[in-house]
Amino acid sequence: MPSCAQFENYIEIKIKQNIMSIDLTNPLNDGINYLKEWRNRYSKSEYLSKIVLNTFYRQYAMDYIWDSQIINSFESFSNTESQILKAYQKLEFEYSKSAENFILDNRLESLIKEGMEIGGLNYNTSLPLILQAEKGNNKVVEELEFTYLYWLLANKSILMWASFGRIGYNYLESVTKVTNAIIKMNEPFTYKNSLNIFGQLIVSNFMDTKYVPLKPLYYE
């Protein structure tokens, strides 16, 4: 998990410079460091499963706090904070608490193997990729790594979006704060559509410019 202090630094800088959209460089670097750490720690097949498992770990932990913490940031918790960093820290804390619920008794594995869609992701669609990657297909390995990073950043964007709600901005104003884009919504914000919004408005462009694939996992 990236520390709150890391986020504090760049959020603060960007706000001072009056640049409206957030910078995802630090979360991306943290994600890449996790991937490198897992590559060193686990066997190749364990590593591939680990990527997918952690992608779903975050999806479930975020989904669980969607109503109670994320949406409530614009309702019951709206305007309850004066500082964006404090708001962000509280949301990260709630995310961490939620994540703990999925560690015990292999609960996460039991959940994902049932193949329910969670925030637009389904384990059943990841499984063939793991199998292909295990056969030494570096392109598929990279696809799994990219997917992990993409969803990590989309989820971080959502936490930042909710942080703006807690300091008094409404749903759409907060989208603009995070992405520098003005949007209209004809339907309620759900976890799935919010991931799509932030994925399209900020994460995709950011990954296009900043993402550099890791060296191939399998050598010729």
């Binding site: 669980y64 109503d67 949406i71 049932e114 329910m116 309620p188």
Partner: protein, 165 residues
């Protein structure tokens, strides 16, 4: 209005498809935010009762009997005389029998007593209550319950009376 209803429906869908871990996940999540859903008091109460009933059923499916009992208790305590909850008392007592310890037997007896109070023609409730009393060596109350079950037409009750009382 939050997404409690979508989560509730996802729980129902997961349960129907035998995806019990996800059913538990979605029902728990739905119940955790029901207070923020902006429902009328009556609708909130009804949703909590059916939600915890479903949650209990899902937990029972994965053999989480302690969790199932706790969920059933919430539903039953909220509305003990609800007609469609008559069978919920049976499900709670089944979980208690699965655990098969003195504490769970006392829980079964407590809720079966409530059940027979509201549904006095439920022979299975009397039968189960009789067995639960016998399990904690309370033969007098066991016999009384088994005789009630017999009076209501239960064919096994007399054998239990003969063998254990």
């Amino acid at each position: 209005m939050n997404n409690y209803w979508n989560d509730y429906l996802s729980g129902v869908e997961a349960y129907r498809n035998g995806k019990y871990q996800n059913a538990i996940y979605f029902f728990e999540k739905s119940m955790s935010v029901i207070k923020f859903a902006g429902l009328s008091r009556e609708d909130e109460k009804d949703t909590i009762e059916t939600g915890y009933c479903n949650l209990g059923n899902a937990k029972k499916e994965v053999s989480d009997f302690i969790g199932a009992i706790e969920s059933y208790k919430i539903a039953l305590d909220s509305n003990p005389s609800r007609p469609d909850f008559e069978k919920l008392y049976m499900q709670l007592s089944e979980c208690c029998f699965q655990l098969d310890n003195p504490e769970s037997m006392r829980t079964a007896i407590k809720y079966l007593n409530i059940c027979t109070n509201y549904f006095p023609n439920n022979e299975v409730a009397f039968m189960n209550k009789g067995i639960a009393y016998l399990k904690i060596n309370d033969r007098n109350n066991g016999k009384i319950s088994l005789e009630s079950a017999k009076a209501l037409g239960n064919k096994d009750a007399q054998r239990f009376i003969n063998d254990f009382c």
